[in-house]
Structures are given as C-alpha cells and as structure tokens.
Amino acid sequence: MTTYLALIYNTDQAWHDDVPAAPSEEYNEFARAAAAVLRGGNALHSTATATTVRVSGGKGGDILTTDGPYAETKEVLTGYYLLECADLEEAVKTAAMIPAAWNGGAIEVRPVVHFG
C-alpha cells in the first residue's frame, strides 16, 4: 500500500466569523464513499489568515514572517505537518524549526477549520 496526499485546490474560501457548523453534504458524501482509504483531512481557513515563515542565516536564525499565503514561484509543495499549538506565535516558532524554512523554501502556516 502507498500513502497519498490529495491536495484540494479551489477558489479562496472566505469563511467569515461564522464558520459553517459542518462540511457541506457533498463533502460528507465523499467522506462516506472513501471511508475505507481516508486517513484524515482538514478544511483550511482562507488565505487571509495565512502567515508565511522563513528563517534567514540557517538553522536557528532570524524568523521572518509575511502576512499572507506563500506566493508560488519555482518551489512546489513537498510535504506537510499538522501542528497543535496554543496560538499563532507558537505555530510560527515551530514552523521556523522545519528545515525548508532555511533551505531556500518557506512554510505557510494556516489554521484548520474546526467544524462546530
């Protein structure tokens, strides 16, 4: 068996203060149909909530953050971690420990939607 990541690309989801209580019926339908192979998944808040993290000067260097999503150039998505943190400050500090942050890449940090 091989593990795959299915990345969902779509127009930006502008969740407002009232995040929907549950995924739409279409997505629930998918989750039921694919239950045997699904190992997890999350919806993300809009790109307006994104913070992009880079570290200059190698491991442990200065943490540089940009308000907004990662602007794609020649880099591609190479992986992901799910972080459970108290707040965005902790999440950014943790993201700055991921080697890509100083190896010419960047880490985009975005909150996951918790369907109430």
Binding site: D17, V19, T49, T51, T65, T66, D87, E89
Partner: protein
C-alpha cells in the same frame, strides 16, 4: 453639534479604546467587542448631551457595551462559554486600574502584531486605538471605503481564526515588539507629515496613549518626542503656495514652543533611560531638539548634530540617515567635506533628496553646471508638484 456635544464626542472617543480593550478580553472576539463598543458609543452620543455625562463614563460605556455583547451572543445562539464569560465580567467600576491598563496594552500589541501586514496594523491601530470609524480611516489613508472595510475585516479574521494571541509580550520579546508598535505609529505620523495634519495629530495622540501606558520605555518616549518636535515646525514648513521652506529659512518665532518644551523634556528622559543602547527614536528626537533649541539657523550647533548622527548610525544605519549626516557635516566642516560624504553613499540614486543635496553642496562650491545637472536629475524622480516647484526655484537662483 453643540459645544456639549463636542465635549461628549471627545470624551467618548478617549474612552473607546479602553472599553474595547476590556471587552475583547472578556468576549474573546474583536468583532463582537467592536460591535458592542460601537453600539455603546452611539447610545452615549444620543443620551449624554441630553441627560448629562454619568459619574463614571467608562463604567457606563462598559456596562452598556457588555449588555449589547450578551444580546448579540444570545441572538446568534453562539457557544455558551462565550456568553458565560461575558456574564462573568466583574462590575467594571471595580476593575483595578492595572487591569484596564493591561487590556489596553494587549490591544496595542495585538493591533501592531508583526504577523499582520503593516497596512493592516496601521488601519487597525487607527480604527481600534484611535477610535476612528471605518469611513474616517479610509479617508485618512486615502483608500476607498470598501477596500478599507475589507482590509479591516481580513485583519480581524486573521486575529480570530489564526489565533494571534491577545496578550502583552514577554520581557525578552518586548524590545522587538515595541519597535514594531513604534514603526506603525511613526508610519501614521509620516503619512500626515506633508500636509495631512489630522493624521499627524492622531499619531501624536496614539504616542501619548503609549507614553501613558509605558512611561519607562525609551522607545515610546523617544517616539512621542520626535513627533512633537517635528510637529512644532509644521506652521512654518510650507510657504503660502504650498512649496516647502528649508529649515534655514523657516520663521522660528512661529515654532510651537509648548510642543518643543514637552519634546525636549521627553528626549532627556528617553536618553537617560537608554544610556547603554541608545534608542533610535530618542536619538532622532535629540537631533530634532538641536534644531528646535537653536534661535537661528546660524546658531545651530552642528557639532552636536553630527555627533547625534554618529550615534544614530550605530543603531539605525540607513542610506538616508547617512545622507542627513553628510549634510550636517557639510554645515560643520564646509561643502567639500559634505559633498565627499554624500557622493560616497551608495543606493540612493533613485532618491531625489540625494541629488538635491549634492546640488546644494555643488552650488556652494561654485560648480553651477554640476549643480544644475543634479537638480535636473532630482526633478526626474517623481516629486510632488510643490516640491518640484521649490527645486525649479533653486535652479533659477543658480542664475
């Protein structure tokens, strides 16, 4: 609006940020707190001019806003914990002053959080700390209202959903974070420097709030000082036709003596408190104070000015700071010394004042052809019309 109405509006605005700051802590939501605080303000503006101002205006606003927040929560059937938190709010009249102060500090550091873009920080600071309406913020920053409303909504969305913490930074983070706060406020001030007096005064008001909150922080005192000292020259900086008047030609009798006195006192305190590592704003204020305290341009103590620039370069080394230092050296040691330094600065070829400064110094050295060429180069770099007109006049003076 009657005089009473004006006084009420001023009072309400002064209290708005404090009420909002406490409500955010209590409700855990910037948007909800803002709606509720706004409702309370509207209520106060309606009733206070008619019924009189209550004994404790802040407590009145807070109680009213708290009720509105609870109404909002009930109406929207939100989570119980939020409602409970809002209900639990202690009697605002009993809130110890330190709590109120801490709430306002939390608001300051959240609005000026480095995870928000500088544009968003400026807009949020004016909206929440300054108590301006979205329309007023849009007008102040020359941005369409719909764009500003969107920018503010996105910023609040990010605070809430991405989890930007509502707290005062720990001691070891404080210097960096204070620098960020000062940058935001100074940006507002500079937006208002050329003509936009409302924004400059708003920045000074924010500076006073910060100085009241953090009376021991040299960055905050230096920031307020540099703004006051620069603002003291406002009425003389522009001629009647809107063209700039050089420092040498300003009518110093019209400088604002009160602002200078306050600024100079603040510089003294700020410098004493940052003796080990001078604060950038305090040093900039010290330079402004050298000018403010000279009765005439000829009396300027250029040695002192250059010495302060030497200090500034050690904590805030930018090409523009080096240019200003070079111009001061030109005044102290003569145009040839100044020109040599100006020409040694790299990275300012696109900056009109680098060319204009070169032109001034070349002219003083009698090289009118090179001066003319430098002025003309400055004029190609997108100056606003009054400033361009000023430079064209300098060209005419070359003869």
């Amino acid at each position: 609006m009657t005089a009473t109405g004006d006084a009420v509006a001023r009072l309400v605005r002064e209290e708005y940020a404090r009420v909002l700051a406490t409500l955010i802590r209590v409700t855990g939501s910037v948007t909800l707190a803002e709606d509720a605080a706004q409702d309370a303000v509207v209520r106060a503006l309606e009733t206070w001019p008619r019924d009189g101002v209550p004994d404790n205006p802040r407590a009145w606003l807070l109680v009213t806003a708290k009720r509105r927040a609870i109404d909002h929560i009930r109406r929207e059937g939100r989570r119980d914990e939020l409602e409970a938190a809002a209900m639990d709010l202690v009697d605002p009249a009993d809130e110890p002053p330190e709590t109120v102060r801490d709430d306002l500090l939390r608001l300051v550091f959240t609005c000026c959080h480095p995870f928000l873009s500088l544009d968003a920080q400026v807009a949020l600071a004016l909206r929440t700390l300054g108590g301006l309406s979205t329309t007023e913020v849009a007008r102040a920053l020359l941005v369409p209202e719909a764009t500003m409303a969107k920018r503010l909504t996105r910023a609040k969305q990010k605070i809430a959903q991405a989890g930007i913490p509502y707290r005062v930074p720990a001691a070891e983070e404080l210097p960096d974070r204070l620098d960020g706060v000062a940058t935001t406020v100074y940006l507002i001030f500079n937006e208002g420097y050329e003509g936009r007096r409302d924004l400059a005064l708003e920045a000074i008001r924010l500076g006073r709030v910060l100085a009241g909150l953090m009376p021991d922080e040299p960055t905050v005192l230096g920031l307020l000082a540099v703004m006051l000292l620069q603002e003291s020259r406002r009425s003389t900086r522009l001629a009647a036709d809107g063209t700039p008047v050089l420092l040498a030609d300003q009518d110093r009798s019209r400088w604002d003596g009160q602002a200078i006195k306050e600024g100079v006192e603040l510089v003294g305190v700020a410098l004493r408190r940052s003796a080990d590592r001078p604060d950038r704003y305090a040093v900039q204020a010290a330079i402004a104070a050298c000018h403010a305290l000279s009765l005439t341009y000829e009396d300027t103590n250029w040695s002192a000015v250059v010495s302060w620039y030497d200090v500034l370069v050690t904590v805030h080394d930018t090409p523009v700071v080096r240019l200003n230092r070079a111009v001061a050296v030109g005044e102290r040691d003569g145009p040839a010394a100044g020109l040599a330094l100006v020409e040694g600065i790299v990275g300012l070829d696109g900056y009109p004042w680098w060319h204009a400064s070169r032109a001034e110094l070349l002219n003083r050295l009698g090289d009118k052809d090179s001066a003319l060429a430098a002025y003309e180069r400055a004029l190609t770099l997108g100056l606003n019309e009054p400033t361009a007109q000023h430079l064209r006049r300098r060209i005419d003076d070359l003869g």
